[in-house]
Amino acid sequence: MSGKVKITIIEPSEIVVTGLKRLIEQNVSFHVVKTFCSVHEYNTMPNGNPDIIIVNPLTTADDSSDLRSLLQASSNTAILAINYGPYDEEALRDYDGIIGIFNTHEQIEKKLSAAIKNTSDKETYDNSNELSTRECEILTAVAKGKTNKEIADEFNLSIHTVISHRKNISHKLGINSIAGLTIYAVMNKLLDVEDF
């Protein structure tokens, strides 16, 4: 990425937009190119081709379509939430980061930098809902207590691929712990109760 990082803000409050812009631009490598007060306005005007979109989730709430397609953003654009509404982190997990209303400019800077880094070398999440056959196999192995290394050997995959599958599984199911994944596996008859 060369030159300044281009940022677009979608936020209905002028106070918040002005404050956010000022905090962000304390770091000279960030430049707020455009600001909009609604997603509708953003979609009907030239958007400045941003590297990062910071959007208030309240402005996207009426729309049921996927965040990225709503904002017509490619997978190289990071989308962060500016959150001072009734949303917890879980509700905002589709965003690449969350800026809170009490964040300092150092915290904001860190989150922006992390979001750019993540989108440039991101493993894209598979957003289909059901587990694939491979994912079911890996889930079963995880539930049986196998390590990433053992799973990689068994299925002839790199450890990196196994980790990426595990992330996708947890993302789809909303279950992170091995104990929790085991329950899912048993309930869905991927594993027998006697197996553990």
Binding site: G100, F102, L173, G174, N176, A179, G180, I183, Y184
Partner: protein
């Protein structure tokens, strides 16, 4: 946005009790209801509690994403803070978790044997994990801090060790919540499921705020004093 942003030492104590969690804090700080028109400052003085500490704890609970800074707090606030954390633990161990356990048990009575068996085991393991987590704080961390406050600096333990060993007891609850919402078969009793979920929502918030208080207030305060 919650009104608590604008509260100061001069605000009436009665005005601060705006929701369930703030009521809980009052109780955990051993402050008795019946404030009359007394200000926060007056009530805190009566209880020998610093107003700064009191308001900080209230803000952690009332404002999501609030990150406290120890600022004016001093080591004389440490014993009150420990007392607060211990009463919270006591409530969890003696009341909250046994109650959740009963509710889970009732919920599983309406489930097939297979699901009931593994979920019971999951919860029992989680219960042990919570017990260990709290035992470590009660038997190792708090006694260390208490001895430090009473002038004993010869201990090998450092608060940094606590910071490094501070395990996460929220992950499995989060998983349990999703399992009850998404994967428990439809024939499980709806009402008992909702009871369990309500309890989990309540404790998730409490655990989250509690760890903010430990990580952002207790640990910095003690390490300043070490």
């Amino acid at each position: 946005m919650n009104r608590i942003h604008t509260f100061t030492a001069k605000t009436k104590m009665a005005e601060i009790i705006t929701d369930y969690s703030l009521l809980t804090i009052i109780d955990r700080l051993n402050i008795k209801l019946g404030f009359g028109e007394a200000s926060i400052d007056e009530i805190c003085r009566r209880h020998n509690l610093s107003t700064d500490l009191f308001l900080m704890i209230c803000r952690v609970y009332a404002i999501d994403g609030f990150s406290p800074e120890i600022g004016n707090l001093t080591n004389s606030d440490i014993p009150k803070l420990i007392g607060y954390l211990q009463r919270t633990h006591k409530y969890w161990i003696e009341s909250f978790f046994p109650n959740l356990h009963t509710n889970i048990h009732t919920m599983l009575e309406s489930c097939d044997e297979r699901s009931a068996k593994i979920l019971n085991k999951f919860y029992d393991d989680y219960d042990d994990e919570v017990q260990k987590h709290l035992d470590y704080e009660e038997n190792t961390v708090f006694p260390y801090i208490n001895s430090l406050v009473s002038g004993n600096k010869g201990n090998k333990f450092r608060i940094k060790d606590f910071e490094e060993n501070h395990s996460n007891i929220e992950e499995k609850l989060h998983d349990l919540k999703n399992i009850v919402i998404k994967y428990l078969p439809e024939n499980a009793s709806q009402q008992s499921r909702i009871n369990v979920l309500n309890e989990i929502f309540k404790i998730e918030n409490d655990l989250n705020k509690h760890s903010i208080i430990e990580n952002k207030i207790l640990i910095p305060l003690v390490s300043k004093y070490e």
